[in-house]
């Protein structure tokens, strides 16, 4: 028997979220005394990358029809090869689109946004995110099969080298209902949900022309950039950077919030960050209550100075 995991790739290249999902699947498999079988669709990366995190078997689905994404066709393909009773997905956009369809196809239960390894396997119970990060839920399933999506950056990527083997499955899944017309991917930009450090700024930055210094700080830290909702509503930044209850929920190791008041809706998307630094000119800003470290002062002086200091230690 095996625990299955969906190893997501972008244009053939495995995502960090895939390694995290494999690491998670390995922990579940160890608990169950099973092995991990990873499934990937048209990967070009080497399976060695998945053995490294504990997958003993890798099934590479080859299907020209799956060159472009369709939630339904992908769910169909995964359903054809995954016949285990635990299937792990990362909680990425694609995977969290496939998982609910697969759950119905297989008659499995679905638990999304899990935060830690299962508390028990029988009955199956696991901690998951709820109320937009304002609470946790311990979810139980009595169904014979369970599909999980693992919240990004929650479990972490854990090396666990095993010797593995690879299998190629040629499929041709029908994919007639949807057709990808165009696909735009900004290259070289760090994905916000995967980033370990996020530098975020709010209305306190006064205008889009001031984001250069935010980006520079992000650059020296190897961080992704984010923003509060009003900032993307006014169009200072793209809405893909908006974090919070109605934007993206993120949980980086370090979240630096500059000129953001810390409204409850903003916190909802970022309060599971491991360390939070707040820079705000208003000592009464609510965000300081949810921060680990704070600097009361003017962002326009602090950001460039902080950037220089970090540059110095990063050499």
């Amino acid at each position: 028997m095996a625990v299955f995991v969906y190893a997501e790739n972008i244009n053939g290249v495995y995502k960090k979220a895939a390694f995290e999902a494999v690491s998670y699947a390995k922990a579940v498999a160890d608990q169950a005394g099973e092995t991990v079988t990873a499934i990937s669709v048209n990967p070009t990366d080497s399976s060695d990358l998945l053995y490294k995190y504990g997958a003993s078997n890798v099934i590479n689905i080859k299907d020209e029809g799956l060159k472009s994404f369709s939630a339904k066709a992908y769910a169909q393909a995964v359903s054809e090869v995954a016949n285990g009773n635990i299937i792990v997905f990362p909680h990425t956009t694609d995977a969290s689109s496939i998982a609910p369809m697969l759950a119905i196809m297989n008659g499995h239960s679905l638990i999304t946004n899990t935060l830690a390894a299962p508390e028990s396997l029988s009955p199956f119970q696991v901690k998951r995110k709820a109320f937009s990060g304002k609470g946790f839920m311990h979810a139980k399933s009595e169904a014979p099969g369970v599909i999980l999506t693992v919240s990004q950056n929650a479990f972490g990527v854990k090396e666990n080298v095993v010797s593995g083997s690879e299998e190629v499955k040629n499929l041709s899944v029908a994919n007639e209902d949807t057709k990808v017309i165009s696909h735009e991917q900004s290259s070289g930009k760090l994905d916000l949900k995967e980033a370990e450090i996020v530098v975020s700024a709010g209305r306190g930055l006064k205008g889009p022309e001031n984001w250069g210094m935010v980006e520079e700080l992000a650059n020296v830290l190897g961080a992704a950039t984010a923003c509060s909702k009003p900032v993307s509503d006014i169009g200072w930044r793209p809405h893909t950077e908006h974090v919070g209850q109605t934007g993206k929920a993120i949980s980086p190791n370090l979240y630096i919030a500059i000129g953001i008041s810390g409204a409850i809706q903003h916190l909802a998307g970022v309060n599971s960050s491991k360390t939070i630094v707040v820079i705000n000119s208003d000592a009464e800003a609510p965000f300081f209550k949810s921060a680990d470290y704070g600097v009361v002062g003017d962002a326009f002086q602090i950001i460039p100075a902080l950037t220089e200091k970090i540059k110095a230690i990063r050499g």
């Binding site: 995502k15 939630a71 339904k72 990425t92 956009t93 694609d94 969290s96 609910p100 369809m101 759950a103 119905i104 239960s109 679905l110 119970q125 995110k129 709820a130 109320f131 937009s132 304002k134 609470g135 946790f136 839920m137 311990h138 979810a139 139980k140 399933s141 209902d177 949807t178 990808v180 017309i181 165009s182 696909h183 735009e184 991917q185 900004s186 994905d191 995967e194 450090i197 893909t240 209850q245 109605t246 370090l254 409850i264 809706q265 909802a268 491991k274 630094v277 707040v278 209550k289 921060a291 680990d292 470290y293 704070g294 600097v295 002086q301 602090i302 902080l306 200091k309 970090i310 230690i313």
Partner: protein, 248 residues
């Protein structure tokens, strides 16, 4: 064209989230209920299609009678009519099954949902409904046009976006971007008055099948008090991040 919009009734976004003393349930005391903010994008999109293409818009909610004010609000925003499935939903699966059961006989060309609800954050209902109805599904949609029996949806992907043509009927789950924030409709007096007389049909659930149960809940533990660093001593901040938090 017939559109079905799925709305969930969720705690107002400023709500403090508390659990009952035995931690077995969400404490609904003193909670203000609102339309799930992500569903509002879907509803507004549907109203725009009603205006531009003469679509009829039905809203559906799986919930007990407590959710009716939220349904009336959706009618005040402009939906033509509403269905409430009389079930306090216990998981995504039971919710999806009831929506699919209503949709099955409704002949809807398009089902619009928010990509997730901000209470239990399942993000599962839309995809489940699509599969139960054997319809295509586009998630995380930030743009949508309908042209006859086909729709063009833009979906957000990590670090980019993708434009997809979809054969109708289909299920589309939207988020911010599906319509502009400034275009969200705030009901006016006329809308509120007319909502009172619009049809709100209550149907009984088809089953009470549940696959996932919330057995207990925890609040987020408070963070330790913030350590303040003087703006003149950023070396100390860098040191703390490096040595204490070990994040840089």
């Amino acid at each position: 064209m017939k559109i079905l919009v799925c709305i969930s009734s969720v705690p107002d976004t400023t709500s403090k989230i508390n659990f009952t003393a035995d931690k077995s349930a969400f404490d609904k005391n003193g909670i203000q209920w609102v339309i799930n903010p992500l569903d509002e994008f879907a509803l507004t999109k549907a109203i725009k299609l009603q205006e531009s293409q003469g679509a009829t818009v039905t809203v559906i909610n799986v919930g007990d009678a407590v959710t009716e004010p939220v349904i009336r609000k959706a009618l005040a925003i402009g939906a033509n009519d509403a269905v409430r499935v009389n079930l306090d939903p216990k998981d995504s699966y039971s919710t999806a099954k009831e929506i699919a059961a209503v949709a099955q006989n409704g002949g809807y060309d398009l089902i619009l949902c928010g990509k997730e609800s901000i209470d239990y954050n399942g993000g599962s209902v839309p995809g489940m409904v699509a599969q139960l109805l054997n319809q295509p599904f586009v998630n995380a949609s930030v743009g949508l046009d309908v042209n006859g029996s086909e729709a063009t949806a833009v979906r957000e992907i990590e670090g980019g976006k993708e434009t997809i043509s979809v054969k109708l009927p289909a299920v589309i789950a939207g988020q911010k971007g599906l319509v502009d924030e400034k275009d969200l409709i705030i009901p006016n007096m006329r809308g509120i008055m007319s909502a009172r007389t619009k049809p709100l049909q209550v149907v009984e659930p088809t089953s009470s099948d549940v696959k996932v149960q919330g057995v207990s809940y925890d609040s987020v533990p408070p963070r330790a008090a913030v350590k303040l660093v003087s703006p003149d001593n950023l070396d100390e901040l860098v040191r703390l991040l490096h040595e204490e938090a070990k994040v840089i």
